[in-house]
């Protein structure tokens, strides 16, 4: 069995072989690992890897697992699943041309109304999370088509707070085609 696992944009194949009850052999690149394991509870695994005893803590998050080992966190994803998911839906922040908050937040000010024309970089919404304010700017020159939020609304990454229609610079584009 082979897995392709991704950490920090780096994907490595992991070759796996069952080696008895709660035992596996793994090969990652040149390195070989003899592993025995037990699940301590829903979030804790006890691993003995090449004789070294390690506790790993695992939680599910978005399209992967967050794993804590010796105080360090690793976000590990199944590379194949990530590729499948990518074609299915757009994740938050996948398009930089949207007005969306970088973290869960509360809207504290909306500086535009429908019909406004905005310049690239102009403040359109200010959000606040945990006492830290973040200004969201217009990603390009355009016209505000719709304002989807009001002051006090709770918003999540991926939520489009303001729809902005891009101003076409070259009017000729459509007529040529």
């Amino acid at each position: 069995m082979e897995y392709r696992l991704k950490i920090n944009e780096e994907t490595f194949p992991v070759e796996l072989e069952n080696d008895g009850e709660e035992k596996i052999k793994a090969v990652i690149g040149e390195k070989k690992f003899d592993v025995s394991f037990s699940a301590v509870n829903d979030h804790q695994l006890h691993l003995v890897i090449n004789g070294q005893r390690i506790n790993a803590y695992v939680g599910d998050q978005n399209d992967g697992k967050i794993i804590m080992i010796r105080g360090k966190s690793y976000f590990v994803q199944d590379a194949e699943r990530v590729e499948q998911t990518k074609t299915r839906k757009k994740g938050p922040g996948s398009s930089p041309s949207e007005v969306t908050p970088p973290m869960p937040a509360v809207v504290i000010a909306v500086s535009v109304v429908e019909g406004d024309s905005v310049k690239k970089g102009q403040t359109v919404v200010i959000v606040s999370a945990m006492k830290m304010e973040t200004t969201l700017n217009a990603p390009f020159d355009g016209t505000v088509k719709k304002v989807n939020v009001a002051e006090g609304d709770k918003v999540m990454p991926g939520d489009i707070l303001v729809d902005i229609e891009k101003t076409e610079i070259k009017e000729a584009v459509s007529s040529v085609l």
Partner: protein, 497 residues
């Protein structure tokens, strides 16, 4: 002593106060907002009163609702914690009018010390050294520029009503002065409704060292030694320790004296903190007085063996201070790390959300003042502090080791925390050598990235977790509350072959 008090706060500090109240047999009343219906302080107090919507102005900052909650529950006193209403003199006045005791200094003291110019004047008049600069407000940019020339650049323009880093500008040269004055004043005006500004010398290489003071209602004032708080991000402390590695016994004595003088000169009562800047030549300057219990108070508790919340309650209930300055002896070394819900890899951006698993460190000399639990949804509405982790050991070196060990066994899954970042800071050479200045993080850790030393082990753990499939037997991998579809409950699967 009080029979029952109300805690006008939330999170770890509310829990901290409840803890001591339990020790003393004092009943506790928690208050909460919509976002905090299932917060730990609400689950832990003897009584809880709902205040209103999550928005702080309609709950934790609503003075009338809070005083009313104290009245209907029969709480005799209010502990304000830190933040929220803790340094609000109008709130203290309201408490006085309503016959509820405020556990903290009198309204006038909070008002005087909250105004930077008034507090600088009090200190200058009583001989406490203040940072060089103006001791009155100045609206004329020309006068400000002339003063800045005298002090030498860089200088700091500050709002008199300042706080939270607002209305502050660092100015490097005279041609920036006029614009910076206007900008600082405008920012202060919109943040505090008061655009008054003044000027101070800016120290590029400085330490932030503060002294805990304690004063009863009878004029007895002592200090409880120092705290070194130089390691900061966005002007907010993240690691604090005591003793400071640069204070000689003579300097500690002099600064302690100055702190007591500062407290006495302002008529201080209850627990407070006198903050100083210490420059490279070990000259110290008064910065401000924090008129509340500080987040970092536990390091003082560890080395002195005292419970500051207990002392606060005793002083507020009219008890005379039994301790004298000679009774205060520091033993060993204590370090505190603040565990925030934030992402150190991305400019310490807030990281609210659900904690899916939490395991707190424990062991001899380890204390974790924690306000959250496994399953708690950390709200976006409030301060990002989850807990403060404190260790106590014989020496600084041992305390650093103990803290690193404690951080290694501190597990928080679901939201980002600076646990690994803090480990790196504590183990870094400048920190180990005690070379900590307020620019420490910017100088040594500005583009911090985690080391991926255990990446292979993480990959193996991923696979083992898939094989065990413990969580998927009961719950879906989906983080949403909707009814799971077979596609979610199936877990790991592949198309075709």
């Amino acid at each position: 002593m009080f029979k029952k008090i109300l805690i006008a706060n939330r999170g770890e500090i509310a829990l901290r106060v409840i803890n001591t109240c339990r020790d003393m047999g004092v009943k506790t009343v928690a208050v909460y907002s919509d976002a905090d219906k299932k917060a730990l302080h609400v689950l832990s107090a003897d009584e809880a009163v709902y205040l209103g919507p999550s928005e702080p102005s309609q709950s934790y900052l609503d003075m009338d609702k809070i005083i009313n909650a104290a009245k209907i529950t029969g709480a005799e006193a209010i502990h304000p914690g830190y933040g929220f209403l803790s340094e609000n003199s109008a709130f203290v006045e309201k408490c006085d009018q309503q016959g509820v005791i405020f556990i903290g200094p009198p309204a006038k003291v909070i008002k005087d010390l909250g105004d930077k110019i008034t507090s600088r004047k009090i200190m200058v008049n009583s001989g406490v050294p203040v940072t060089p600069g103006l001791i009155s407000t100045e609206a004329d940019a020309g006068v400000m520029t002339a003063e800045a020339e005298k002090l030498g650049y860089p200088v700091l323009i500050k709002a008199t009503a300042g706080g939270g880093g607002k209305g502050i500008r660092i100015v490097q040269s005279s041609d920036e002065m006029a614009d910076a004055c206007a900008a600082a004043s405008r920012e202060a005006k919109s943040a505090f409704g008061n655009g008054e500004i003044y000027l101070e010398k800016f120290f590029t290489k400085a330490r932030h060292i503060e002294f805990q003071v304690l004063a009863d209602q009878f004029g007895n004032t002592i200090h409880l030694l120092e705290r070194e708080c130089s390691v900061q991000r966005r002007h907010q402390k993240i690691i604090e320790e005591t003793p400071s590695s640069v204070l000689t016994p003579a300097l500690r004595e002099a600064m302690g004296q100055a702190a007591v003088t500062a407290a006495k000169a302002s008529g201080y009562v209850n627990a407070g903190t006198v903050e100083f800047l210490v420059d490279e030549n070990l000259k110290f300057y008064f910065l401000e007085v924090n008129t509340r219990l500080q987040v970092e108070h536990p390091v003082t508790e560890m080395v002195t063996g005292l419970d500051l919340v207990r002392l606060q309650l005793e002083i507020a209930s009219g008890k005379k201070l039994a301790l004298t300055q000679e009774d205060i002896k520091g033993r060993g070394h204590a370090i505190e790390c603040r565990i925030y819900a934030e992402d150190p890899e991305n400019g310490f951006f807030p990281s609210p959300g659900k904690i899916i698993f939490l395991k707190e460190p424990s062991g001899p000399g380890i204390r974790n003042d924690c306000g959250v639990y496994s399953g708690f949804d950390v709200p976006v509405d409030y301060d990002p502090i989850l807990s403060k982790l404190i260790v106590h050991a014989e020496t600084r070196e041992q305390a650093i080791h103990k803290m690193v060990k404690a951080l290694k066994s501190y597990i928080v899954l679901g939201i980002k925390t600076p646990i690994e970042f803090l480990m790196n800071v504590l183990q870094s050479e400048p920190f180990v050598r005690g070379e900590v200045f307020t620019d420490f993080i910017d100088t040594h850790f500005s583009n911090w990235k985690p080391y991926m030393t255990d990446a292979d082990i993480a990959r193996i753990a991923f696979i083992v977790d898939e094989m065990c499939g413990t969580r998927k037997m009961r719950k879906t991998v989906s983080l949403h509350d909707e009814i799971p579809t077979p596609w979610q409950t199936l877990g790991h699967w592949r198309h075709g072959l």
